[in-house]
Amino acid sequence: MSLTLLQVIVSGLLLGAVYALFSSGLTLIWGMMNVVNFAHGDFVMLGMYSAVMVWTALGGGPFAAVPVAAMLIATLGVLSYFLLVRHIMKGPMLAQILGTFGLALFLRYAAFWYFGANFKTLPDTLVGGSFVFMGLRFEGSRVLAGVMGLAITLLLHFILTRTAVGSRMLAVSEDATAAQLMGIRPQRMQALAWGLAGAATGIAGALIANFFYTSPTVGETLAILAFVTVSFGGFGSVLGALVAGLIIGVVESLSAYLVGPVYKDVIVYMLFVLVLWFRPQGLMGKA
């Protein structure tokens, strides 16, 4: 295998780990409540803007921005749950879809209005430039994002599967009434899920802000990426989102390299439609 190809695959994997992180937030909510958060991409976008703001206001790098973005977007998630999602969950399908979709438009264009349409970028040098390892060139910001993305996605998976809180959340997602009879408060668990998902999403946003253009409409593309990842990985599975995120990162990098950068989205969207067609329950999901 040529070195260039290997380089492309490694960059894809690093990017994929971040995709996994922001998709795990979507899949968590989806699996637990059967609600699709159409505003998910815009949560990532706001995470990116928090990083930009932390840098412009305080001069702080990603390490300062990550906790700030996590807290802000977690708060946004919990607020969205209590003020909106809780009420529309049991409503008609149109209201469910429109509720979070309206939230998406609201956030996207509020950002457009407040921050302006122009792209914002963080300086390259924020995370130690780039280095060469075994003949491959690595950019510090991408390595940091990839490694943290991987670590936090695994942490989220661990919380959901190995802790008491995780078991309670699982109980609510299986049967909210039964869980309530066991002394678990479903609303509290669902709000917690929105908080956790928001935190993961905010962190992902703060991490990719280091090497992506930050713009108000970036959420649209990212939301579709998250839908693709979740539909690949199976709805509700964080581990599935991890594997799928890595695959999609590589597919995207490879198609940008082999077919041309314009077509990378086209190929990913086509894959999405194909997966929805043949396996609506997700590529790795259970039938």
């Binding site: 529309i88 438009l105 609201f106 996207r108 579709i224 989205d265």
Partner: protein, 317 residues
């Protein structure tokens, strides 16, 4: 008789509206835009409202109509309106191609798939030289014959749009009253129940989708005739799809006059905020749109017209 009194009065008002605002071009234009919005939203309503399949990718058909019209001008020299039947025919085929795989999905999954298809077509259109790439294509700059539909005032468009809207609403009304209307509403309320009662769910969803696509495409062609220009964003952009959904949902999805009511409120609102706030206002308009959508979903999931129904029920008691 009372049943026809209000619609009849409104129709009469719609017919004389251009005469009332004759010396005010802004209002002539606004009237035409409201009707155009109502055509798009009413077309969406067939599949999104009656059949309950929430497509957020109807801009695909709108763009097909607009591009068909401009392409027959650019590449063949025909008047743009001649592209309308072509666009409708292509959209029916396209609806079949998109609908067969995606209509098997239910609820959220269908909506997501339509978003992805919409984005796919938008990205592809901006890379196509035939369609003018990211710059888009323009219609005839100077009218050659009357068929180029190039008028100084918006009033001729107003009457063209009104005719199309009346035809579309008439067709929707016929469907609503007939067997297909009952089938579609049964599918919306419970696909499984509809299927177990012998409704061929897949086929009727597809019929609704194809019909809806055809009329959305017509709206696109009419848009092109009036504005004379289309690019990937104004033809296939996601906001085009969103506007159709929001107008129908605000007035009342799955109700004959729902989309018209929504257009009557939202189009003037958009024009007003654009003219008050200028270029900067573009963002703010959609902030308001987003807020309206959230409020409808939260407090009024059946739309404004459901308020009237509620009153009627009370009166009956």
């Amino acid at each position: 008789m009372n049943r026809f009194l209000i619609p009849g009065a409104l129709l009469a008002l719609a017919l004389v509206y251009p005469l009332l605002v004759q010396s005010l071009p802004v209002y002539e234009r606004l009237g035409a835009l409201v009707l155009l919005g109502a055509i798009g939203a009413s077309a969406w309503n067939i599949v999104g409202g009656y059949a309950g399949q929430v497509s957020i990718g109807h801009a695909v058909f709108f763009g097909f109509g607009a591009y068909s019209s401009v392409v027959v001008y650019t590449h063949l020299g025909w008047p743009p309106i001649a592209g309308a039947p072509l666009g409708m025919a292509l959209s029916v085929l396209l609806a079949a191609a998109i609908g067969v795989p995606t209509l098997r999905l239910s609820g959220h999954y269908f909506s997501m798939a339509t978003i992805a298809v919409g984005e796919l077509v938008r990205v592809l259109s901006s890379t196509s030289e035939f369609l003018g790439g990211a710059q888009g294509l323009g219609g005839p700059a100077i009218p050659r014959t009357v068929f180029d539909l190039s008028f100084l005032s918006a009033t001729p468009f107003y009457y063209i749009f009104l005719t199309v809207l009346l035809l579309l609403l008439g067709l929707t009304w016929t469907i609503e009253r007939g067997r297909m209307g009952y089938y579609l509403r049964a599918i919306r309320d419970s696909e499984r129940a509809a299927r177990s009662l012998g409704v061929s769910v897949g086929r009727y969803k597809l019929y609704a989708y194809m019909l809806s696509g055809a009329f959305t495409s017509l709206a696109g062609s009419l848009y092109l005739c009036m504005f004379g220009f289309v690019d990937p964003e104004s033809g296939f952009g996601i906001l085009i799809s969103v506007k159709m959904v929001v107008m129908a949902a605000l007035g009342g999805a799955g109700q004959l006059f729902g989309p018209l009511v929504g257009a009557l409120i939202l189009v003037p609102l958009e024009e007003l905020s654009n003219s008050l706030l200028g270029g900067q206002g573009a963002g703010l308009t959609f902030v308001v749109y987003g807020a309206i959508i959230v409020i409808i979903a939260r407090f009024l999931p059946s739309g404004l017209l459901s308020l009237l129904d509620r009153r009627k029920v009370k009166r009956a008691d």
